[in-house]
């Protein structure tokens, strides 16, 4: 055996040998990893294949569902849906079906339509100043419909009113009556008569008197051509304090009434 010349050679040899042992240990670990990596691919390949097939199946399902959704028409466009919804209303909640729908009484939120017309005519007949009221009665027939459509709009066009009449369809009649039906004109009549006494020449102008106490004042002006003379009729309803106020203005005579704080 070669004997080292000095101690340093021993240390160098020992360090080198120690490094070699460390590298061999690392290589041994590497070989283990390579062996494990060669055994692992079979499992990982199976898993990968499984996940891949599941992903493809999910993608196909998604595409099919999207395709079906695109081809299917919009549910809201199907009129049968509305019928189905109406059918879901329990039979007990529905009113008795009318045997003759065509003769059924048109019903609005303001009460039976013929009652409003008849009561207006009755009040108009009992009025002393028939000449002023007469053109108003014809206009009141239109105002009934205007109440249904828009209270604040002028009712100068009769054709529009006629069209409004056509809007009352048998289907609306079949619907259950609303619970908040306003009282008929006969119930309000005593207070109207009191107003007539207090306002002198004031006449009943509209049958759409509301019983709501705090209704805002509004006015509607109807203009019509009678012969060569244009007549403008303005109706105002209810003051701020809830007191019903009836006004009638004939523009041809330029009569202006001032009642309470409201100036016309």
């Amino acid at each position: 055996m070669n004997t080292p010349d000095n101690l340093q050679q021993l240390f160098d040899a020992a360090k080198r040998h120690q490094k070699d042992l460390s590298r061999q240990q690392k290589l041994s670990d590497l070989v283990d990893q390579w062996a494990a990596a060669e055994a692992a691919p079979k499992k990982s390949t199976k898993r990968r294949t499984l996940w891949l097939s599941m992903g493809i199946a999910a993608g196909i399902l998604l595409m099919v569902s999207i395709g079906l959704r695109v081809l299917q028409p919009e549910p809201s466009a199907n009129p049968g849906t509305i019928v189905a919804k109406i059918d879901t209303i329990p039979q007990s909640a529905l009113p008795e079906p009318s045997s003759d729908i065509d003769n059924a009484t048109p019903t609005t939120h303001d009460g039976p339509l013929h009652n409003q017309k008849n009561s207006t005519k009755a009040i108009a007949a009992s009025s002393a100043e028939r000449d002023i009221v007469q053109p108003l009665i014809a206009d009141n027939e239109n105002s009934v419909d205007n109440e249904n459509s828009a209270d604040k709009e002028n009712s100068s066009d009769k054709e529009n009113s006629a069209n409004n009449d056509n809007r009352i369809t048998p289907k609306e009649q079949v619907l259950p009556p609303t619970e908040h039906v306003l009282p008929s004109i006969e119930q309000v009549l005593p207070s109207i008569e009191q107003m007539q006494q207090s306002t002198g020449q004031m006449q009943l102008a509209d049958n759409t008197i509301t019983t709501k106490p705090k209704k805002t004042v509004y006015e509607r002006t109807s203009s019509r051509l009678v012969g060569s003379k244009r007549t403008s009729v303005t109706r105002r309803q209810a003051t701020d304090d809830g007191r019903p106020l009836l006004a009638l203005t004939n523009s041809s005579t330029s009569i202006t009434y001032e009642l309470g704080k409201i100036k016309f």
Binding site: L7, L10, A13, A14, R23, Q24, V31
Partner: protein, 172 residues
């Protein structure tokens, strides 16, 4: 060749391969990378290793060729001449030379460990930390909670003992 056989036959040749690669490439780190590449190729072709008669020569020749490939590649840092390659061309002699050197290193390492085992515990520990693990005095102070003067004194005594032992071994 099975994994266990590969570990017991091929991996111990790492010292020879490392020494040869260092001689050719002249760099310890590059030699280490080259050896690892050769090991990887040997692992991939381990089935063919069973038919090889002289496994050590085969492995060293593979290492030599790998080092030459690295030299031919652009990334090699060392100025390499053809004489360096020629010096490794005689593979039988080279294999014998490498083997002798590896064996000598292992013998000297074993000799030192034998001498260290005869030292007292404290001196043996300090010699290992200072000369084999190449730790600084401050690190040794922290680890062993000794003063630097004590460390120097103990190491000095251990070195004297080792020199005496080595001289006795030389004169034997």
């Amino acid at each position: 060749m099975t994994t266990d056989k590969f570990k017991h036959i091929i991996i111990p040749l790492q010292s020879h391969m490392q020494l040869l690669a260092e001689r050719i490439l002249g760099d310890e780190t590059e030699a280490e990378d080259a050896v690892q590449d050769v090991f990887m190729r040997l692992w991939e072709q381990r089935d063919k290793l069973d038919g090889v008669i002289n496994v050590k020569s085969y492995v060293l020749q593979s290492t030599r060729l790998r080092c030459i490939d690295i030299i031919r590649s652009n990334g090699h840092s060392k100025e390499f001449t053809t004489s360096d390659v020629d010096a490794t061309s005689n593979l039988p002699d080279l294999t014998e030379e490498i083997s002798e050197e590896v064996e000598l290193t292992e013998q000297r390492s074993a000799m030192l460990h034998s001498m260290l085992n005869d030292l007292p515990e404290k001196q043996r520990q300090l010699i290992r930390m200072r000369y084999l693990e190449e730790k600084e005095i401050a690190e040794i102070e922290k680890a062993l909670k000794m003063t630097s003067s004590n460390i120097y004194t103990t190491i000095s005594r251990a070195i004297q003992t080792l020199k005496t032992k080595l001289k006795n071994e030389y004169t034997r």
